[in-house]
C-alpha cells in the first residue's frame, strides 16, 4: 500500500485551497442569487418596452452577459494556464480545467440566445456574420481544449498540453472582439438604442451589469466546485484527502 502513497506535501496549496474553496462557494452562490434577482427585476419589470423591438429585446439581459462571460472566462483560463506552465503549480492547471466547461456553456448560451433573438429581429436563426461566427469559433476552442484534456490520461501532461493550447487560442479573443470591423456585419446594427432616452438606457445598463455580475459569481461558484472535485480525484492518495474522508466518516 505504501507504494501508492505519494508525498505531495511539498505542494501544500490544494490541501489548503480545498477547504477554503468549500467555504467560499456559498458566498458566491448567495451573491449570484442577489445580483440575479436584482438584475432580473430591473430588466423584466422596471425597464420599459423598446419601441422598435417590443418586448423581444429583453433577451439582451442574458445575451450580452453570456457573451461577455464566454470571452472573459477564456482569458481567465488562459491566465491560469500560463501560470501553471511558468511556475509548475498544480493548482493553476486544475483551475483552468475547471473553468473550461462553464466557459463553453456561456458560449453556447450566447449563441442560443442570439439565435432566438435573431429569428424575430432578422428573420433568421443564424447568419454567417463575423461576430456570430467568431463566437462559434470560441465555442470550438473550448471544446478543443476539453477534448484534448480528456484524451490525455496523465493529469500533469493534460494540464501542460491544455495550457499550450489555451495560450495559443488567446489570439482569437481580440479577433472575436474586433471582428465586427473586418466584415460589414448584420450584428452591430444597434437596434437597441442605448442613447434614445437616458433614463431607459440607465435602467437597461444597470440590469445588464447586474445580470453580468450574477453570471460572474455563478461561474466562480461552479468552477470552484468543479475544481474541488478535480482536486479530490487527483490527490486521492494524499494524506490530506485521507484525513478529510476519515473526518467525514466519523
Amino acid at each position: 500500500m505504501n507504494n501508492r502513497l505519494i508525498n505531495w506535501f511539498k505542494f501544500a496549496s490544494p490541501a489548503t485551497f480545498y477547504p477554503l474553496a468549500g467555504k467560499m462557494i456559498p458566498w458566491f452562490v448567495a451573491l449570484s442569487v442577489v445580483f440575479g434577482a436584482a438584475g432580473l427585476y430591473l430588466g423584466m419589470f422596471v425597464a420599459p418596452t423598446d419601441f422598435q423591438q417590443g418586448e423581444g429585446y429583453r433577451i439582451i439581459f442574458i445575451h450580452v452577459p453570456a457573451s461577455w462571460m464566454s470571452m472573459f472566462i477564456y482569458l481567465v483560463m488562459a491566465f491560469w494556464a500560463a501560470l501553471g506552465l511558468a511556475f509548475n503549480t498544480r493548482l493553476s492547471g486544475m483551475m483552468a480545467t475547471a473553468l473550461a466547461p462553464t466557459g463553453a456553456l456561456m458560449a453556447f448560451l450566447s449563441l442560443w440566445t442570439g439565435a432566438l433573438w435573431g429569428k424575430p429581429m432578422w428573420g433568421t436563426w443564424w447568419v454567417w456574420d463575423a461576430r456570430l461566427t467568431s463566437e462559434l469559433i470560441l465555442l470550438f476552442l473550448y471544446i478543443g481544449f476539453i477534448a484534448l484534456q480528456s484524451a490525455i490520461d496523465d493529469p500533469r501532461r493534460a494540464d501542460k498540453a491544455g495550457a499550450v493550447l489555451a495560450l495559443v487560442g488567446v489570439v482569437n479573443i481580440p479577433i472575436i472582439y474586433f471582428s465586427v470591423k473586418w466584415w460589414n456585419t448584420l450584428h452591430q446594427g444597434a437596434s437597441v438604442s442605448l442613447t434614445k432616452s437616458p433614463s431607459m438606457a440607465a435602467t437597461m445598463l444597470w440590469a445588464m451589469l447586474l445580470v453580468a455580475l450574477c453570471f460572474w459569481m455563478y461561474s466562480i461558484a461552479v468552477a470552484l466546485g468543479r475544481a474541488r472535485n478535480i482536486m479530490l480525484e487527483r490527490e486521492r492518495h494524499t494524506e490530506w484527502v485521507r484525513q478529510l474522508l476519515a473526518g467525514k466518516e466519523s
Binding site: T124, W125, W128, F140
Partner: protein, 222 residues
Amino acid sequence: MLDLLFAVIARDLKLALRRQADLVSALFFFIIVVSLFPLGVGPEMDMLRKMAPGVLWVAALLATMLTLPRLFGDDYRDGTLEQLVLAPQPLPVTVLGKMAAHWLTSGLPLTLLAPVLGLQFDLSADGLLVLTLALLVGTPSLSAIGAIGAALTLGLRGGGVLVSLLVLPLYIPVLIFGAGAVDAAVSGLGFEAHLSLLGALLAGSLFFAPWATAAALKISLE
C-alpha cells in the same frame, strides 16, 4: 457467424468509446467543415441555401474519409490484424463487423447531426428530412467502400492521403445522388428516384465490399 459479427462490433465500439476523442471529434470535424464554407464564401443566405446540400454531403464524405485510416490501421500496426486473418472464421464476416462498427461511430452520428446544421443554412423542413434520409442510406456505403481503400493502403506510409485518393472517386456516385436527392426535395421535385439509387448502391457495396476488403487485407499482410 453472427456471434463473430457481434464480437467484432462490440470490441470496436468499446475501443471507440475508450478513445472518446475519436467519436466526438469526427462529429466536430463535420461541424467545423460545414461552418468553414460560409466563412470562405461569405454570408449571403441565398447562395448558402443553394450550396447547402453539396456542402453537407462533401463534409460528410470528408469526415468519413478522415476516419478511414483508423479502420484497420491500428489493428495492422499492433499485429491484431494478423490474428484476425488467422482466426478460423471467414474473414469477410469479420470485415463486415468492422464496417458496421465504423458506421456506428462515424456515419450514424453525422446523420443525426446533419439536420441541425442544415438549419444554419436555412434549409426547408422537407429538405432537412430528405437530407437525413439520404445520409442514413448513403453513409453505410461510404463505410463499406472506404474499407476497401483502407485495406489496400495498409502499411503504406502516407496512407491517410493515399486512401482519400483511392476512395474519393468511388464516393462520387454517393455524393451525386445524395446531394441530388436534397436538391430535388428543396426545389419540390421527386426525390424518390435518387434515394432508391442510393439504396441500390448500398445493397451493392454491402454485398461486394466485404469480399474485396478481405482480399485486400490478405494482400496487404503478405
